[in-house]
Amino acid sequence: MRLLIVEDEDLLRAQLVKALSDAGYVVDSAGDGETGLFQAQECDYDAAIIDLGLPKINGIDLIKTIRTEGKKFPILILTARDNWTDKVEGLDSGADDYVVKPFQIEEIKARLNALLRRAAGFAKPTLDFASLSLDTTSKRLSVAGNEVELTAYEYKVLEYLMLHPGKVVSKTELTEHLYDQDYDRDSNVLEVFIRRLRQKLDPDESLKPIDTIRGQGYRFNVPASS
């Protein structure tokens, strides 16, 4: 999952980048509204965290512009001004949730998780597909009720595919959303992850959860259980 963080306070931004990178997100950051807008236009993000009090372009205007340009990724507002006028204005301008400073990193992670899940159309923190169940809170996978160990990257790939069920996800899209820009984008590595995931999800090859669409990418192909 690729995140954009726009926060002008260097220390706080560094903390957020570190904590969220540690949590498995791919994180880009900007220190002012202008840079933030540029990045939002350049890259395809899964979610953004935007501080309201930003230099150059303030948070509200930044969010409005992002929305006007048709970007639909969820946005979490950070605000120090703990009043409802600002909160309502922020949510009205197109943000999806807010966190008041100071905050616990855990809270940010939980809110982000919920936003990402909601954006993909899931109401519960657990993504259920037939016998597969991925708990996005504890980051655990169970297959037919049995817990299955996943590496961090396997989890990331599976979560991304599950959050876009039925959609063809190209290898480029996957690398963009799962790796830092300076990461060596070797598509062979991805193929390895997919192969391992197939083995773990479907040991007896009855479900065939991940299709390979030739020349296009992968598709998670299990109907969601409501």
């Binding site: 220390l11 904590a19 540690d22 006028t85 400073k101």
Partner: protein, 460 residues
């Protein structure tokens, strides 16, 4: 404290009407008195002159004979006609009547004591007497020395006062009529002029009260030069007051921002340290826990006191009203986004007429805190009612959550329960709501909803 200003009992208009009314009565009364007197004096003078002329006429025709006097050729016909109202007499120095005109045959002179009074030759004595038959008579008695008879005589002419009295009465009734008309005209003119002159003041007063009621932003009417200074300064005052308030709020917002960001950084550092808990000793972990708690407390105090500071100063709102329903709708739609994961059925009963007399941000803060609590603590149902109560506004919010325990209600509603005395995890929402309500001198009460949870009622 400013000294208590005694309240003026009389309006400007009443003062002017009273003053002018008293002046009018004094002026017309005095003028009437003077005119009446002058007229009476001039009439009296005319009577005396006439009597004197009649005396001279008698003198001119009087001829002495053995029995006294003989007046053969009386020019004035009224001397000849009985009871004509004009009577002539001649008396000698002893007061004995020596001649009377034919008109005076009937006149009884018993009351005429003045006849015996000596009048020096060449002098005239004027006066008035009552006669039983002829009524009141004015007289002139002229003393003369008749050398042929070698004796002093008094020539007396009497005239009935009735005609002159009638003349005076008529003058007086005319005078009353004119003065009455004049008083009426002046009173109407005065009221009209006063109303015209006072109109700008009344207009200004009306504008000020509609500003107070929040129907207007500023004084708009054009006023005469004397009031322009007032209206301009009033507008300036309103404007600068609003600017001051918004500047104050921005400053405090900035202060909040600059205090909270470092708090967020510290809190982040604490978490980073804790994550390396493998290398942290047990004691250090306790210290980190305490650090966290203190940070949380600092944060609560900063939030709460800043909220209070921005509010209590604004309790005196200067002429703003807000439609309540759009504000509530905005908050509900914002909260709907935040609590998207929670299936809440919301029953709204919103009266579009409901108006809040005060700052929009205060209403937003009040409703934001109360509705946020309702969303947070409800199980699945919330009821919101916004209604108009006379000039005021009533907001009722109910939920089906746990509710607020009976013993906590009084404590929770106590104004100024300080941020640092709040129980941890309680949040400052309700405390802030209580502060706003009391700043606007409203009422807030907590009860049990029929849905099972808390019901909060606010009257503003």
């Amino acid at each position: 404290m400013s000294p208590q200003v005694p309240e003026s009992r009389y309006s400007l208009q009443t003062r002017l009407v009273l003053a002018f009314g008293i002046l009018l009565i004094l002026f017309l009364g005095l003028a009437g008195f003077v005119l009446d007197r002058a007229f009476k004096e001039s009439v009296a003078a005319a009577v005396e002159e006439r009597l004197q002329l009649q005396v001279y006429a008698l003198l001119g025709v009087a001829e002495p004979d053995e029995e006294g006097f003989f007046l053969p050729d009386l020019q004035e016909a009224r001397f000849a006609q009985i009871n004509s109202g004009l009577y002539g007499f001649i008396v000698d120095a002893a007061g004995t009547e020596v001649w009377r005109s034919p008109s005076a045959l009937d006149v009884n002179l018993e009351q005429a004591n003045f006849m015996s009074q000596h009048v020096a030759p060449g002098q005239t004595m004027f006066g008035a007497m009552d006669s039983p038959v002829q009524g009141r008579l004015s007289y002139a008695s002229y003393g003369t020395f008749w050398s042929a008879l070698d004796q002093e005589y008094s020539f007396i002419v009497m005239e009935s006062v009735e005609p002159t009295a009638a003349e005076i009465r008529e003058f007086q009734s005319n005078l009353y009529l004119w003065f009455g008309g004049l008083a009426l005209f002046l009173s109407i003119a005065q009221l009209t002029l006063l109303r015209w002159g006072m109109k700008p003041l009344q207009q200004l007063a009306m504008e000020v009260s509609s500003i107070e009621a929040g129907e207007k932003d500023q004084v708009e009417h054009e006023y005469p030069p004397e009031l322009q200074a007032v209206s301009k300064n009033l507008n300036l005052l309103i404007k600068s007051e609003r600017e001051r308030q918004s500047r104050y709020r921005t400053t405090l917002g900035d202060l909040a921002h600059s205090l909270k960001t470092p708090l967020a950084v510290i809190s982040g550092i604490v978490q980073q340290v804790r994550q390396k808990s493998g290398s942290v000793e047990q004691g250090d972990n306790v210290a980190l826990q305490e650090l966290d708690e203190q940070l949380e407390r600092m944060n609560q105090i900063v939030s709460y006191q800043l909220k209070r500071a921005t509010r209590s100063e604004q309790s005196r709102h200067l002429g703003t009203t807000v439609q309540a329903v759009p504000v509530v709708e905005k908050i509900i739609s914002a909260l709907g986004k935040v609590y998207l994961d929670k299936p809440v059925s919301l029953i709204k009963n919103l009266d579009a007429e409901a108006v809040f007399q005060g700052e929009e941000s205060d209403l937003m803060e009040l409703c934001g805190n109360l509705l946020d609590n309702a969303f947070k603590y409800c199980r699945s149902e919330i009821r919101v009612r916004v209604s108009k109560k006379g000039q005021g506004l009533q907001i009722d919010i109910e939920d089906d959550g746990q509710g607020i325990a009976e013993q906590d209600r009084q404590w929770v509603l106590k104004r100024g329960a300080r941020g640092d005395t709040l129980k941890s995890g309680q949040g400052i929402g309700l405390a802030v709501a209580v502060d706003i309500v009391s700043a606007y001198k409203g009422e807030i009460s907590v009860g049990t909803s029929e849905l099972g949870g808390a019901s909060i009622h606010v009257k503003l």
